[in-house]
Symmetry: C2
Subunit: 353 residues, 2 copies
């Protein structure tokens, strides 16, 4: 009998994720920390980066690709920076550590730039860019993606990933602005979703190796993702990768490991988190009032014909969070099935038990 789709509360989901990581050998405290961040991803509507990834994470831990007992540490440090060695631990743990250090350092330094190497996939970029907001700081996050799906502009060798940027900005009465975007027109997860649903992709998402539009997502393996703005998005993916990868001694270019198709090789994932202490630049309430004003000017703009609302980055995620904390997180049937299989395999209580 196939399981059907269901809804899970955040607490149930978090407890289940924690059980899975404990079963695989991660400490209670660290499993709780990862589970909390993964659940937050689902609550915020970043489904492609939440519990959906759990089977893959467990598979890679079993394969020996990820260290379950990492000694995450500061390898180098100066007043305005730090370099974190993640010791190949789960990316969520490494990035929480790095972001907390950045926030702590920015209290004195004003701005702290914390680079990370030897990390792993850490879920949605917005998680970390948002953390400084609670401290009245701006967060800026960059990362090297964990699979190369694009080439240099005009090229065919897939040397670049969808290297994302996320920026979180505190506001006053308005919700914070949280931008979280890949440097490609479509993230690879969207291509996979289209394939599962049997849909065709719009032109502009991918090209084949002759440079022609590729619209059949089942043929995605033959094609390349397109960067936003053509050569401009290529430039962004490149420099974000240099900052998050090369600068930190993390993987970039030919060294990036495709973690979807490999359960044994450490990815040496690189990230950057910058915490920017607003009050060091301007009186905090003035800054927040300016952000509120800008948000309202944008939201109340005249609109193009057919547009029903103008959105700020993070607005849809904010609405989803409020809804899902109230009504729970919808889990589609294939995911429920995968999680049941995982529970059986790890001999842990199933979701919601």
């Amino acid at each position: 009998m196939n399981p059907s789709s269901r809804t899970s509360s955040a607490a149930e989901l978090q407890a289940f994720i924690q059980r899975a990581f404990v079963a695989i050998g991660i400490s209670e405290a660290e499993a709780a920390s990862i589970a909390e961040l993964m659940t937050r991803a689902d609550v915020n509507g970043a489904e492609g980066h939440g519990v959906f990834r759990l089977p893959q994470y467990i598979r890679r831990i079993k394969g020996g690709a990820v260290n379950i007992k990492p000694e995450i540490r500061i390898e180098r440090e100066a007043p305005g920076m730090a370099l974190i060695d993640g010791d190949n631990g789960m990316g969520h743990l490494v990035m929480r550590f790095a972001t907390e250090r950045a926030i702590e350092k920015a209290k004195k330094a004003g701005v702290a730039w914390v680079g990370v190497k030897a990390s792993n996939h850490a879920g949605p970029a917005s998680l970390y860019a948002s953390m400084p907001i609670e401290h009245d700081m701006i967060g800026l996050y960059l990362a090297v993606g964990n699979a190369n799906h694009l080439a240099a502009w005009g090229g065919l060798d897939m040397l670049l990933s969808t290297n994302p940027i996320a920026v979180g900005v505190p506001a006053g009465a308005e919700p914070p602005i949280v931008l979280d975007m890949a440097t490609t027109v479509a993230a690879y997860g969207k291509v996979k979703t289209a394939a599962q649903r049997g849909e065709t992709m719009p032109e502009g998402w991918m090209i084949d190796r002759m440079g022609k539009a590729l619209t059949d997502p089942k043929r995605a393996g033959e094609g390349l993702l397109l960067p936003i703005g053509g050569y401009k998005g290529y430039g962004l993916a490149l420099v974000f990768g240099l900052l998050a990868g090369t600068l930190n001694g993390a993987a970039m270019g030919r060294d990036v490991v495709d973690f979807n198709n490999d359960d044994t090789t450490p990815t040496n994932t690189g990230h950057v988190i910058v915490a920017i202490n607003v009050a060091m630049f301007r009186e905090l309430t003035e800054f927040k009032a300016s952000v509120d004003q800008l948000v309202r000017d944008i939201r109340n703009s005249k609109r193009l014909p057919g547009v029903d609302a103008i959105r700020l980055p993070g607005e849809q995620s904010h609405a989803k969070r409020e809804e899902r904390m109230r009504l729970g997180i919808p889990l589609p049937a294939p995911l429920v099935k995968n999680l049941e299989q995982l529970a059986a395999e790890l001999k842990i209580d199933a979701l919601g038990s």
Copy 2:
């Protein structure tokens, strides 16, 4: 008699620009500093940001919009940051001051983030992102543009400028990587050039107020520039503006002054320059070897059919610089005419005399 196009050496051009600023009341030393940076823009092939802007700069100084005797100073400071008050001076002077502070601070702090307010148009972003390279640092520059030419995604109110990003990365044997890009598909200067030449614009550069493609550059005043990647480019223009403008107490959103159509109002232009001291993160020669390797992997990639070469950001500018230092800077006839008029108006020796 109309002047024809001509070629000028960098030295001639720089001397002429300096004479113009001295004639309008700027000190010899500061005029030389501005002239050197403006000439560098032309030498690097950023023609839209070099001597082409001189008549407009002089007009705005005459109109009282720009302070010719600024006291540029550090208003706030912590180990990892500074806020510069440009005192409404020429942007080139303010940004040179800010970038030198960032480099100096990054020697100790590892990374220094320097925000700027009360500045003015400073020429091409790449000038400042490149300066840290000579000190084996990475430069990251953001700015709020000096005219709003785009709206929030779905909107019609022009609340955003083409807010650029530039990143300069030192390499070893290869030329440095220097990305310099607006967050719109086309910079507004390209639209103006198309109009001058009587060309039509490709679809995707601009839309009219009904959301339809606008391809006649003479109608540009009725339209909006399109951001790269649709809502993604809108998000980038927004957060870069928050970082370079709002955070520093500089103009953003409704407060941006259109400096093309106003000779009397200070723009309160905001910028950010971040200097990142590579050796604080990694052994410098290792870093440079990694950048060289990446550059070569990209350059030697297999290519799409019809593509003759794969370029790195900054490569064309680098080639242009070598050519123009040897052969001089070509100046089109309308520009030569404008500069002759300017010389007469300021009673200074003409270009090349």
